[in-house]
Each structure stands twice: as C-alpha cells, then as structure tokens.
C-alpha cells in the first residue's frame, strides 16, 4: 500500500480490486457467450426478411398491423398481472410464517410449498384438466365456466409460480437485525407499525424482485397457455405459432424483442430500489429470532396448512392419474404406465440423462452464479462493468425458452464458431440450462449478499487478508443457505425444463421432461403423469438431502445467534 508516503484522497485500486475486476471481466465474457451473443443472433433477425436482408422495422410494422397482436398483448399483461397480484401476497405471508413466526413443522411446510417447482409445468395442467375439465372431478366448482382460458392459465400459473416467489421472499425475510425490533419495542411501537416501518422496508428489495420475477415468468411461459389457454391468445403462444407453426423466425424474433420489455423495466426499477437499500446485516447485527405468539402462530399455521394441502392435492391428482388405465372411462389402477419403454424407445434412459444434466447444471451453475453475484455486489468501482453484467444477468428471465433454444442453434451452430464443438453435446444443454435459469439464481444470491455489510470486506482489507480468503472464510459460509437454495433451484429446474432444450438435444441426450411432453402429445397422459411423478420424487429426495446437509452445516450459521 502506498498509504505511508502520501495518503491519496481517492483510493487507488488495490491488487484485490484488480483481481476482482479481472474476474468480473471473465464473468462478463461468460454472460456474453451464454446469453447476449446467442440472443443477438436470433433477435437481429427481427430486422431482416426471410433471406437475411436488412429491412429495418418492416417486420415490426407488419406485426402491429396483425389484428391479433393487441389482444395477445393485453391478454398477456392481464394474466401476468393477475397471477402476480395473487401470488406475491400469498407467498409473502407464507414466507413470513416460515421466517418470522414460531409455527411448528416449518421444514414440512417449506417442503410442501416447493412441490410445484419440482414438477414439470405440464403437471398442474394435467391436474387442472382432471379436476376441472369437461370430465373433471370437481367440474361443478367452476359454475359451468370452462377451465380453458384466462381462469385456467391464472390458476395453473399461481400454482407454478408460488415456490419461485416464496424462495426469494424467504431469503429476503430470513436476514433481519434483532436490534431494530428491540429498539422498536423499547420505543413502544405497535406491531402494525413495526411491520410497516421495519419488516416491509427490509423486504422491499425482495418484494419488488419477486413481483418482477413472477410477472416475467408468466408472460414468457408458454407451456401452460398451450394446454389450458383455450382460445385465450398470449404473446408466448404467438411465438409458438410463428416459430413452430410457420418457421417464421423473423416474426418470432419480433415477439421475442417485445417480451424483453418487462426485463428491461425491471432492471431500471431494480437500479432505483437497490440505491436505497441499506444492508440489513451490518457487522454488528444480531440475527432476528422470532418469539412465540400464540394467536399469530396459529393463524399462520392454518394459512400455511390451507396452501400446503391445496398444493399436495393438485400433486396427488397427477400421481393418481399416472396409475389410471384409461381416463375417464376405465379408472382401474395399473402399473403399466411406468413401463416407459412402451411409449418411447429410450424408456428410462431419458431419466438418467436428466439426472446428469441436472447435477452438472447445479454444480457448475451454483459456482458461476454465486461468484458472479459476489463480483457484482462486492467489487469496488468499475460501475459500468458491474451494471452491464447485472443487466446481462437479468435478461434470461425475460427470454422465452423457445427463443433461447433457437438462438443457441443460431449461435453455436454457426459455421466457424470454435464453440461449435459443444453443439449436440450434454455440455451445451448444461450451459443452456444455467443460462435459462440464471436470473432467479442471481437474484437469490444477490439478495443474500446485499444483506451482508460491506464492512466485512473493509475489515479484511485493513487486516491485509486477501479477498479470496474473506470470500471462502466469511462470505460463503454466511451465505451457505442461499447457495444451497441456488443449487437446488438449478437442479430441479434442469429436471423439468423443456422449451429451450427441445431444440438442442441429440439422440443420446434427450431429457425426461421432453419425453413427458412427447408422451402427452401422443395421448399417453398417464405415462406423462408417471414420468412427472418420478421427477417430483427425485427432486424431492435431493431437496431432503439438502435439508439434511444444512443441518450438518448449521455450525456455519451458529454465529448468527447471540
């Protein structure tokens, strides 16, 4: 350090800073290759005609003239807004119960809430049709309204999005400073006032991220709209029609660009909010520990029980469906639907492929995601680079899987691209999966890191401890719960993802989730439900292993308590 000779007013970049900037550069390169360049190779087609000639905004004009456009646009906004408005409050109360109450059986409730994320999105759609379809068990509950349409989409989306929202909100709520609550208590603030002035502001960043994540998830998801959407057109089904129905990549790219809007908006809002967010967990913070309060705890238990049982019920219908001989005319139970070789010559091997893909995505993905989030959050200076990296990390959420998958073909299959060796391999499926689920993982890691005081780094620096040492000895252990969450998130999503990998698998690497879609399309709904059940139980087992592991590792969190 040069401090001894002439104390500089503005600190020069230290060696640590330089290392971190170099890492940030590498990290930006990864995002460029995994996200930006492939997307550009497809989205640039929105300015070209079918022969690749530049035509400016002609495609956009043509699309605007399509009468169905505004209908789809408003429909998309409507279902996304409705789902967000329903899911965020539900998930907030649920996450609040898990983190801030003395409710019993918390691990059980946490597990129940995760079921939807463990299941392919076809599962709620199948259950919904078995429950509320024209032959449905509970058909009367809809008062003669068809489930196909906005009602069906929103219902299935609420089910599907719930764990996504809960996961971010649990992270946001789980780190709080006990001292704030004690002070509020000492000042005689009412519970409502404490909630409004301490709890909510502390979770604001998480709440806003959640709202945008859910909104964007719904707007880009096409699987649910395809099965239960009926005549209710949304932007994501418009892409399907253009790309799959008519091989019109140019118009598909136009819709893809329109869909990027919410992500860019969310990025802008995120910047504004983040500027105001103060670290929750300062170095002197005392972690929050809920005290029992009978009335509140009971009410929250009833609430969580209601949601948990609903989720379990929806799942149970699919499990039951997987044992039915022929719905709805022959309800005898059978094990035949699990002989997948009868429906697909690859049989159970698709399941092994999925396991390999999911494990690799989880291991490599977590390392990349956490390191990236750390660099964005903790490196000093270099604001432009950090902003750019953060923006790139926000994009994947807004990209429909269909668009991401196609852009991988265009980019990685380009003649002369040295990365072309990856094409058709499992490695590319892994890269694609990590990229596809990057945003939520990134936000989870970031939310955890934002709650850590910058002082940790400052103190380490003044003690001349190298930055990587602080990273491994302090940051990683503290954030271990969030890191494990990211690992599991990547694993379970890799087990269920369809829309992007559908363009990228080869004969040896077909994943199970695709076999499910294929089986359902050819009318083997029971087989599809069966494979979905196997996936849910696999992911649940992994999740349980995580819980066991966190218990073993709870030593790293022991410092949190006084």
């Amino acid at each position: 350090m040069t401090a001894a000779t002439a104390p500089p007013i503005r600190a020069r970049a230290s060696r640590d800073d330089l290392i971190m900037r170099a890492c940030l550069g590498l990290f930006a390169l990864w995002l460029l290759v995994a996200v930006a360049l492939p997307l550009w190779s497809l989205l640039s087609k929105s300015f070209q005609d079918r022969d690749g000639v530049f035509v400016g905004f002609a495609n956009y004009l043509r699309y605007v003239e399509t009468p169905a456009l505004f209908q789809s646009f408003w429909n998309s906004l409507f279902v996304a807004a409705a789902t967000t408005a329903i899911v965020v409050p539900l998930a907030f109360v649920y996450a609040y119960a898990l983190t801030r109450s003395c409710m019993r059986l918390k691990p059980l409730f946490q597990g129940l809430a995760l079921i939807p994320i463990l299941a392919p999105s076809l599962l709620p759609a199948i259950s919904l049709i078995y429950l509320f379809g024209n032959q449905g068990l509970l058909k009367g509950w809809l008062f003669g309204q068809p489930v196909y349409g906005a009602v069906g989409i929103v219902t299935a989306q609420v089910f599907y999005c719930f764990p996504h929202a809960m996961m971010i909100l649990v992270t946001a709520l789980s780190m709080a400073d006990q001292r704030l609550y004690e002070s509020a208590d000492a000042l005689g603030a009412s519970r409502l006032r404490v909630f409004l002035t301490v709890t909510l502001p502390g979770a604001k960043y998480g709440l806003i991220s959640t709202a945008f994540v859910i909104f964007t998830l719904v707007i880009t998801d096409f699987g649910i709209a395809k099965v239960v959407g009926g005549r209710f057109n949304v932007l994501a089904t418009d892409i399907y029609k253009q790309v799959i129905g008519q091989q019109n990549f140019e118009m598909g790219a136009v819709v893809g660009v329109i869909l990027l809007a919410p992500a860019l908006l969310s990025f802008a809002v995120d910047r504004v909010v983040a500027r105001r967010q103060v670290a929750q967990l300062s170095a002197r913070a005392v972690p929050f520990e809920p005290k029992p309060r009978r009335g509140r705890d009971l009410a929250l238990t009833v609430f969580c029980l209601g949601i948990g049982l609903t989720i379990l019920g929806v799942f149970a219908v699919s499990v039951w469906a997987s044992f039915i001989t022929f719905w709805p005319y022959n309800l005898t139970l059978t094990l035949k639907n699990y002989e997948f070789g009868n429906f697909d010559p690859l049989g159970w091997s698709v399941y092994v492929n999925s396991l390999i893909m999911a494990s690799a995505s989880a291991v490599f993905g977590t390392a990349i995601v956490f390191l990236g989030a750390y660099l964005v959050e903790k490196s000093k200076g270099f604001g432009l680079g950090r902003g750019l990296v953060h923006l790139l990390a926000m994009i994947p959420l807004a990209v429909p899987g269909l668009v991401l998958g196609l852009s991988y073909i265009f980019f990685f299959n380009m003649r002369g691209n040295p990365l072309g060796v990856l094409y058709g391999t499992m490695a590319l499926l892994v890269v694609n999966t990590i990229a596809h689920f990057y945003t939520v993982s990134h936000l989870t890691a970031l939310t955890a890191l934002k709650q850590l005081d910058q002082e940790f780094e400052a103190v380490s620096a003044s003690l001349k401890v190298p930055v990587w040492r602080t990273f491994f000895k302090v940051t990683v252990p503290i954030c271990l719960p969030a890191i494990l969450d990211v690992t599991i998130y990547l694993f379970v999503n890799a087990m269920t993802t369809v829309s992007a990998v559908i363009f990228l698998y080869s004969s040896e690497t077909k994943p199970a989730a695709l076999a499910i879609v294929n089986m359902d399309e050819s009318g083997f709904t029971a087989g599809a439900a069966g494979m979905a059940t196997v996936i849910v139980f696999t992911s649940a087992a992994v999740k349980l292993a995580q819980l066991g592991l966190s218990r073993l590792l709870s030593r790293t969190q022991a410092w949190r308590t006084r």
């Binding site: 196909y148 395809k226 399907y240 001989t325 005319y329 073909i409 491994f472 009318g523």
Partner: protein, 344 residues
Amino acid sequence: MTRHRIWMPLALAAMAALVALPSDALAQKTRITVYTALENDQLGPYKAAFEADNPTVEIAWVRDSTGVMTARLVAEKDNPRADVIWGLSASSVVLFENMGMLTGYTPKGADGIKPVFRDAKNPAMWTGMDAYLSVVCFNTKEAEKTKAPAPKSWKDLTNAAYKGQIVMPNPASSGTGYLTVAAWLQVMGEAEGWKYMDALHQNIAVYTHSGSAPCVQAATGERLMGIGFDMRGAVEKTKGAPIDLILPSEGAGWEMEATAIVKGTKNLDAAQKLVDWTISRKANELYGKYYAIVAMPGINAAPPNYPAGAEKAMVKNDLAWMAKERDRILAEWTKRYDGKSAPK
C-alpha cells in the same frame, strides 16, 4: 483450502467427460443422424428392421413433433447436423427443397412406388412413405349422453347441436390444421370454403396447437369430437377409447410422410442405403401396420381400428398450391378466427 484443490481437477474432469460423451461412436459402424417426426412407438421397429438388413449402418434418431423438427432443421440450415430426414411431412420437406437444403437421390426401386409418392424430378429430391388424413374422431359415449347425432360429412359439423363441442388444430400452429383448412378450400372452392369455416367456427370450442390433441381430447371425452390426425384416433380406439373415426363424405385433406437426404452429409453412402431401404417392400409392410395408405401398391395396409376406404377419401390435393398460398391463407384464417377472444 485443500478441499478446493481437490475439487478443481474433479470438476474439470467432469466437464471433459460431458463434452466427450457423445463421441464414443462404434468403430466400424457408420452412424447416421436421422431427424424424424415419426411416432415414438414406430422408432424401435423401424430402426431394428433397417439395421437387420444393413448391419454396417446404425441409426441415431432425433425425434420431436413436426413443427419442432422443421424449425430445428431450418435453423441449422447453414451447418446441417442431420444426415437423413425420414418421416417428416412432405410440405416441410418441400420447404427444405426450396431453401436448397437437400441432395437429390432417386433410390433403387423408385419405380415400384405410386407416382404421387415420389418427387417427379430426376434425381428425386424426396420420396414418400405413407399418407395420413385429417378425420373426425367422434366420442360415442358422450354422444349418447347428449343424444348428439354422428356426423357423416363436413357439412354436418355446422349442426347447431354441436355448439362449443368440436376441437380442431389451429392451422397457424399445426400442419394437420393447415392441411384440413387447405382441403376445404380446394374441395369447396375459396368462397364456399370460408363460408363453411365461418359456420363451423360457431361450434368450435378451442383451436389446439397440436394435430394430435383433437383426437386425444375426443378419446377422453373432454370434447364430443375432434378434427385431426387419423392415426392418433385409431391408436386411442385400440387403447379402449369409445370413439369412431369418421371419413367425411366430401373427402379428407391428407399429407404424406417423406424421406430426403440433407445436403452436405458426410455419410452419403449410408444415407443412400437408408433411403433405398425406406421404399422397399419390407419397409412399406412396416408402414402398413400403422398407416392405411402406403407408398407401394398392393401392400396390405390395415392398422387396427382404422375405417375402410381411406384411400378413396383422399381429396385431390395440390401440394405446390398449398405451399404457395400458405402465408395468405393463414393470414386470412388468423384474421377471421384467431383474433377473437375466448368465448364468454
């Protein structure tokens, strides 16, 4: 820190293994990549039969629905990964031909198949395997409940008794949907055809995104009837679905499944062996287990539960016209029927 040192090489090794995974090809056998939209249950028997006759060639399937495979092939156009296309709709194959993606090859014995099943050019750019129809799958059990009469013709489908109970594929999403619409326009004439669809629209519950979905939904009683892919209906009936397959009296739209060699294949010899085999008698006998109409004359093509008279029900179909008019017809169709919101 030792833990991290141990993990690093392991991680690298795992990554290397992932990259290397697919390249462990067998030493002598030529492995060819075949893109297909054949039904899943056909892949095993077709591969086994071909490889039994050609022990030096091995088939590696990449299979998905027609729309996905077509989009994937077009997207890979500049650097193709498939050697052969076997079992994809002829209209997709013609699209590839127009984009210059195919290599011509007239297989040995091409004279042995019906003329409509082979490209007239020399060398042929593609050959057909079998044909499928767009039929009506009618659920008899649900019909009993509502006393709905069974339809005999397309015209019957506009009967007000069927209001909100018919599903058909959206032609903008599904090839089966398009061939259905194109057949109506060709048989009835443009003006009459649109008038017919206006009337039919009143009875349609939903336009699905898949050509298989309508017959599957009719099979489970989710809908009274579905207009769609015939073979799906026959398979559902075999599984125990209470449905009848109805060939409407005006005739039905059809499409064939075709075979072609992708330009730039590094395994041309093996690819040609495969194409030769796909028009053989043995291959056609296999097709006949699943489809009622196959390329070779005199084959007993009678899949279980398939209605008789399929070949006679085929409308006179102009594939070139269908390809040329596609954008216009889809735009018109979308304007008329797809812009409307869900029924209240």
